[in-house]
Every structure is written in C-alpha cells, then in structure tokens.
Amino acid sequence: MDPLLVSEMLRKVGAASVDDLFSDIPAQVRLRRRLRLPEGDSEYAVRRDVQERLSGNRTPPSSLCFLGGGVWPHYVPAAVESITSRQEFYTSYTPYQAEVSQGMLQALFEYQSLMCDLLGMEACNSSMYDWASAAGEAVRAAGRVTGRRKILVGANIGPQRAAVMKSYAEPMGLGFQTVRFDPSKGTLDLADLRRKLSADVAAVYFENPNYFGVVEEEAREVVSAAQKAGALAVVGIDPISLSLVKNPGDYGADLAVGEGQPLGIAMNYGGPHLGIFAVRETKLARSMPGRLIGLTTTVADPGQKAFAMALQTREQHIRREGATSNICTNQSLMAVAAASYLALLGKGGFRLLGESVIANSHYAASRISRLKGVSSPHLRGSFFKEFCVSYASSRASAVFRKLAAKGILAGYPVGREFGLGVEAGMYCVTEVHNRSDIERLADSLEEAL
C-alpha cells in the first residue's frame, strides 16, 4: 500500500484512516487479533515449495496410470492447452455483456453444437460441474417434468454418481431403487427393470459403458421399457466411447449426461472437469438447469451474426426460488477445452482415437489373462476401455496397493458389495498406453499377485 496514495484516496472519501472505513462493524464482532496464518512469501519461495510438494506425488510420467471409473487418463493436445491458457478466456467472467464477450459466447455455442452432434441430442447446456452432479440434476429434472417420485438406477453404475444423485434428489422427495445386472456379463437385467417399472417411476438412469466398462447391448430396450412406463430414460456416457458406440440419440434416450473430462481436460485429481447435460427434444430445454447460449443477430443488423445467453428465465438470477437449478458458476473454460479438442480430432481423428483405445484395452485384457490365477476380463460383456479382473487368491485391495508401490496405478478395487460374486480390480487402458506400458503392467501384476 502506497501511503501517499492511500491518504489521497481517504481524503476524497472523507475518512481519517482505513480503519475508519470499517468503523460501522460493531466492536463486539470484530477480530481483535491478526489472522493466525503464516506471513506472505515471495513468488519464488511459494512456487518452489508447491513444486517440491507436487513433485512428490506419484503420477505420470514417473508412474503409469490405468485408473478410470469416471476420470480417465487421455492425452491433452498441446493446442488445447494453448487455447485454454488464453487469458482472454480464462480471466473473463460469465458473458453477461454480450457485445464484449462474443468470443466466449461463440466458443460455448460451438461446444453445445458439437456435443449435440456427438450425443445425437437437440440441446446441450454450456456445462455442469461434473458427471455426478449432472446426473443429480437430470433425475431432479425428470421428477419435475413427470411429477413422479421414484428413480430406478442400475446397480452397475459408478458409486460416485449413485451417491451424488441421492444427495441431490432426496431433498425433493425422490426415492431410489436399484435394478440388478447380470453378474456374468455385467449388463443391466432387463427383466428386473421391467418388473420394477411402474406408474410412479420418473426416470431410469443407466450408464453406457457402465461402471464395469461393459457396453449395454440392450440400451434401446432399456430406453423403450422406461418410456413405455412413462418414465424418462437418462443415460450417463463417456464421450470417447461414442467414437465407436451408438450415441444416446440413436437409442432414443431422453436425457444424456456424462463426463467431459476425457475431451482435452487433465485429470486434475478430481477437477475441474466437465459435466455434460443434454436433452433429445427441444421442448425439454426449458426444464434444463444451467446456462444456454443462443445464436442471434445484432439489434441494428439482422444479417450480423451474434451470440447471447438464452432462456435465462429458467435460471436463479431471474427466477430465484422457482429456478430449475441454483447453478451459476459452471465449468465454461472446460467446455472451451472440449470444443477445441473435438475440433482438433475431427471426425477422422475421433474414430482413430476410439480404435486405438479399444485395441489397447483388449490387448491388455488378453495379456493379463495369460497370468496365472486371474480372470481377465472377468465379465463376458463387451467392453470399450475399462474391464474388471478377478484374482484367484489375492485381495483386490492388496493388489491395488502393491501395484501402486511399484509405480503402477491400476486395479482399483471393486468390492463384493457390487454383487459380482468376487472382488475384482478395475483396469482402464487408453490411447496414452503403449505396448511396453502394458507389458510393465502385466509383469508388475504378476509380482503383486
């Protein structure tokens, strides 16, 4: 603080001192001591300390990561990092003043359009916090739209999504029931779903691929069963899988949610990631949570393309307690990352990516299956990039820790509570892994068993 400037400013304000500006704070609540925090340090010292601490973490490139479950190791292209490092994007706020924010508005509009193409959906919002909270908002939206109170969820979905959905939806009086899966294939049990569907079911939520990495072959049947019962079909997806797998629109899902992190966003120890939220019919757009960007023109020139925030009357700053959601700050910068990622790969590159991922994962599953005392893949269902492995005579949690000690982050335990009949370890193999990585994984696993 420059004392000369401060006193000049104080003069204009008509205050004797800076403390005088706070004199309206009642003495009884004031803090009468300094905050018990360390004193400030130089940029160099703080940077060095943080760097040292972070370099102690065991992460790629010094370790190999084969973990998935909703956050996956994928390559983040240099061009994406360059784009999201533009200060014009990352130090701006929500584009309330459209005329000076056309760049962010167009980028988000492009994200919405690309995601609609990817998902086969008609409208996609400009981001939610993450997959789990998007799933929570999706079942809340289903409750609002249908007026019904029950949510059916597959027992083979990610436990993180299951738990967050409950935190989100139970306060509005929604109840949950799980639908069984086939323990040998890993896919949803259609007969059990049909038994549990009734006139009070608002939504059926399933994941594709599911938590075990298995593609739900009967997605269309799941969706039509739900819709026949008057419920909305909500699917949670890994966008990378859509390089090879049918999209949610193809099998008629009403709402699609998912995790956009693999689209050019680092794993970041849990965030920031990108919650995807899209609807198949535009009439559902008005029930959507979150921010939407629309294409328009300027007032003066109907030929001049422009972008602005759209359908804001759904949102909390206008509708307050009647809003579709309380969300305000979202994950816009991550949506820009995803848009630039999809544009970089394009139709051809995205297909190649899917082929590289599925080839590697199947190669790895097969390589691991040659080890004694393992069943790999443990499930018979078709998988994309993740698969379960069971061990004849080792605890999955012990294998997980032993592998980590060898610099291999792999085999996240799937406990008995999932109902696979055994404990298993989850493996995720993507385009970032090559043959020697997979050899190292297999060799280390052999030692860990």
Binding site: M9, K12, V13, G14, D24, P26, L35, R36, E43, V46, R47, V50, N57, T59, A79, S82, I83, S92, Y93, T94, P95, Y96, E99, S101, M104, Q106, Q112, L114, E122, C124, Y129, Q160, V164, Y168, M267, N268, G270, P272, R286, L292, I293, T296, V299, Q312, Q316, R319, E321, N326, C328, Q331, S332, L333, A343, L344, G349, E355, S356, A359, N360, F400
Partner: protein
C-alpha cells in the same frame, strides 16, 4: 479525455463452416504393433451398439488455433481492462498460480489413486482447509463443493439434516433477505425449503426486529450475505443471528462478499454456523469465462460432522480423503473437488499471508468508496444508506426520466474499453449499477472509470449518446431472439 478503444472483430465462421473432409488437426497416438494385431477394432463392439463416427468438423491444427485465438480476441477479460462487475470480485489472478497448477503432480493425479501416492497435494489441501477455517472462524471445511451455489446447497442440506436429527424435522422455512443473490432462494428451494423473504429497511439493511417477527417454530435458518449486495455491512448481524438462534434456527453465511472482511471480522465470530467461500472471487482464482470456481463450505463445531465428503484428514502425519464423517450429507461432486482451483487459492493465500490478506480488504473497501465518491452524485444517486460507508462495492441508480438508463450506461461504458458494472441487481434498487472495483485497480484507473461513467451520463441526459455500444466486436445484441430452443445449436 477518454482513451480510444476498438475491440477486435473477426467475421469468424462456425467450426462446421470451416470443415473440409479428410482433415485431422491432431492424430491420436496408437501403438502400431497392437493395431496390427487388432485388425477390425469396431467389431469388438456388439452389432446392436456399433455406431457411425460422429459428424465432427474436420480442420487442421492451425485452423483450430486461429479459430479460437480469434474468438479470444473478441472477449474482454481482467487482464485487458477494468472489470468491476458487482458481487463478482474480478480481481487480478496471479500468474504463478497458473504455473503451480500446470505441474504433472496435480494435472496427472487421478482422484482414485491411493493416498500414499498423493501426499504432497493432500498436505496442501489439509493446510488450505485449516487456513480457511481460521479466516472464517469455523471449525472445519470441506473443499469438495465446486462453486458457490453448490456450497450453498451443501450448507442448507447440512442445516436440514442437523435439524431433522435434533427434533427439528418440521422446520421447513429458510429466511432470505430481499437483497440476496438469486442463488440463495434457489439453493434453499432445491433443498426442499420454503423461502421466506426478509424485507430490508430504508437503509438497505436487515433489522433484527423484522427477523424476530418472521421466525417461528417452522424456521430452519437464514441465509445472510454480509456485507450485503448493496455493499453495506449489516450492522445488526449479531442480533439477527441471535434472533434466528433464539427461534431454534441456524445461520448460513454467504461468503460471496468476503473480500471486504478478511482479517477484520469473521463469520464465526458474528454468529454464523455454516459458511461458504467463493475461491474464484476472494481468493483470486480465475473465473474461466463463467467457471470453474470452487465453493468450499465450512461449519462450526456442532455441524462439522455434517459437511459434504470427502474432507481431508490427517492421521499419524499421513493425509487422506475421508468420507467417514458420521452425519455427512453425502458427496455433491463425483471426485474430491475442483482440486486445481483449490491449489491456486492456496498459492494466493501463501503469497499474501496474514497481513497481506487484511490489506486486500482494506484496499478493496477503500477503492469501492473512492470510486463511489468520484461519481457525480446527482447522476448516480444511491437509494439506500446515503451516509453509510460502502464495503467491497457500491450500488447506485442511474438518474433520469428515461427507463432503461442502467442498460444504456452499461453498454456505453463498454465503448471505453472497460467492462460494465452488474446491472439491475440487487432487485430492490431501480436502474441499479453495482460496482465492485476490487483492490487490484490503482487510483488512476478508478479515476478513469468514474470520469467515463460521469461523461456517459452527461451524454445520456443531453441525448447525444446515440446507439451504444459502437466500439465493441459487434453492436447491441438482440438477446430476445437468442432465447428460442431452436437457436441453441447449429441446425443444418
């Protein structure tokens, strides 16, 4: 004399329009030896689920870079100019935080990896949690919530659960002042509460006697923003807390405006039970064009066990993610939290330290009062608390017969290469401009901003303003036309 400003404009097509079949901007890695063994990868997907590749645009890497770089040039930001959006705290975001968050030790860390492999990061989060608790006077924080609104949702869910376990299950009302951010009533409603609006008085403050009249055995609690959205410290905050507590309710502190109070007064000492902080406001993490942020939620001792999980715990010098709180409301986010945002906030607190943080609030409050006093008081009168000091921001009305004056002023100020204040908020002020300069702006910038606003108003009164804005990438945008469900994506 105002500086000349002209924002860039590129007549930039949509990605789809730039597409040409066969182009690939980045070829993903593929192991040749493995690809050789798997001749038809798509056959590994069952026929019923085999899909065609999505129809994504096909561009070269340079085309993609040019496209987004051009778009970035059509986007105003803090590093380009003053951005005094009220209640948004658009301060400078230290560059070193970006460097820190670029390390592989966080970027490549997977949230499910064993805690012994991420001790460095967990130790930082543990320290951050302790720092935020000290700053707010809370017992413990959960860093897991991704934004302010999610922190609010967590907070009201905690209140709900605590009360239901302590004989207060029938308490279904949350009090929210009429000056509150829209997220407050929206969060309370999401948690299943009925919202009871608390009118502020003529000075823009909430009176304890008003609150006393509204509380009952149905009161679960009150969400309170201090300083409020008018930029005023709520002088009866302690009495308001006592009134709600006396009726058996709990107090929620909306930390959106905490930038005014660092080191001066703590929510816990004022009587609040639950607190959220917006790290993307007070703690200088960049807003990312609307996100990501982080909205950690803190609790007093009796509510600490209700925090959302995971929290970071320590045992025998080892740190771990702890989901074992006895009464937790559960998780609200799939994994950990917005970790890379948390790391940036930690760096900020370490750079400033105890006295630096107090200086932040001193300067932020000085800047807000100085800017307010530099405005022509007849052009920009205040409707509430004329004689009171402002804290982090000031709210003024745009004087004049014409309605829509605030919008006009906002658009006109864009032509000076400066961002508009927040407009038409809070709702209790007509033709409101809500101005929060933050501690980052030097005196000469505040002078420039005030001079521009004063000049705009004179032109508005004289009828010489004309169509604004003129110097921005595009002229005034038709926002109504954007609000049709058919305009939300490209239709071909």
């Amino acid at each position: 004399m105002a500086k000349k400003f002209r924002q860039a404009y590129w007549d930039e097509p949509l990605l789809k329009e730039l597409s040409r079949p066969g182009r690939i901007g980045m070829t993903p890695p593929a192991d040749a030896a493995i690809m050789k063994q798997v001749t038809n990868p798509s056959a590994l997907i069952p026929p019923s689920m085999r899909g065609d590749p999505p129809d994504l645009p096909e561009l070269s890497e340079l085309q993609v870079l040019r496209h987004f770089n051009r778009l970035s040039q059509m986007n105003f930001s803090v590093e380009l100019g003053m951005y005094p959006l009220g209640s948004c705290t658009m301060k400078y975001n230290p560059k070193v935080s970006e460097m820190a968050a670029g390390a592989d030790g966080i970027r490549q860390a997977h949230p499910l990896q064993p805690p012994e492999t991420v001790q460095g990061l967990l130790s930082i989060f543990y320290e951050l949690e302790r720092m935020l608790s000290e700053i707010t006077g809370m017992s413990r924080f959960s860093l897991s919530t991704a934004a302010g609104a999610q922190g609010e949702f967590a907070g009201v869910l905690m209140i709900r659960k605590y009360l239901s376990e302590h004989g207060g299950a029938g308490r279904d009302e949350i009090l929210v002042p009429d000056s509150a951010h829209g997220t407050n009533p929206a969060s309370a409603a999401m948690a299943g509460f009925k919202v009871v609006k608390v009118p502020s008085d003529g000075s823009g403050q909430v009176r304890a006697r008003t609150v006393k009249d509204l509380v009952s055995d149905r009161t679960a609690g009150m969400m309170f923003t201090v300083p409020n959205t008018l930029g005023l410290f709520e002088s009866e905050v302690a009495e308001v807390c006592a009134a709600v507590h006396g009726a058996g309710g709990l107090m929620y502190y909306d930390g959106a405006n905490m930038n005014a109070l660092l080191g001066r007064v703590r929510p816990g000492d004022m009587g609040f039970d639950v607190v959220h902080l917006n790290l993307h406001k007070t703690f200088a993490t960049p807003h990312g064009g609307g996100g990501p942020g982080a909205g950690p939620v803190g609790a007093c001792k009796k509510l600490a066990d209700y925090l959302p999980v995971p929290v970071v715990s320590e045992k025998g010098g080892k740190y771990f993610l702890d989901s074992g709180l006895g009464h937790t409301i559960g998780p609200l986010k799939g994994f950990v939290g917005n970790s890379a945002v948390l790391l940036r906030a930690y760096v900020y607190i370490r750079l400033l330290g105890s006295s630096g943080l107090s200086d932040v609030s001193s300067l932020a409050v000085l800047a807000a009062n100085y800017l307010w006093k530099s405005l022509d008081p007849e052009a920009f009168p205040v409707s509430h608390g004329q004689s009171l000091r402002r804290k982090h921001e000031a709210v003024v009305s745009v004087h004049g017969k014409q309605s829509g004056g605030a919008l006009k002023v906002a658009k006109a100020i864009l032509d000076y290469g400066m961002h508009a204040p927040t407009v038409y908020f809070p709702l209790i002020v007509s033709e409101a401009l809500m101005i929060e300069p933050t501690e980052s702006e030097p005196m000469e910038m505040l002078d420039e901003y005030a001079a521009a606003l004063n000049h705009v108003h004179r032109s508005l009164e004289a009828g010489t303003l004309g169509d604004v804005p003129k110097n921005t990438s595009v002229g005034k945008v038709d926002e109504v036309r954007a609000s049709h469900p058919m305009t939300l994506k490209v239709h071909w």
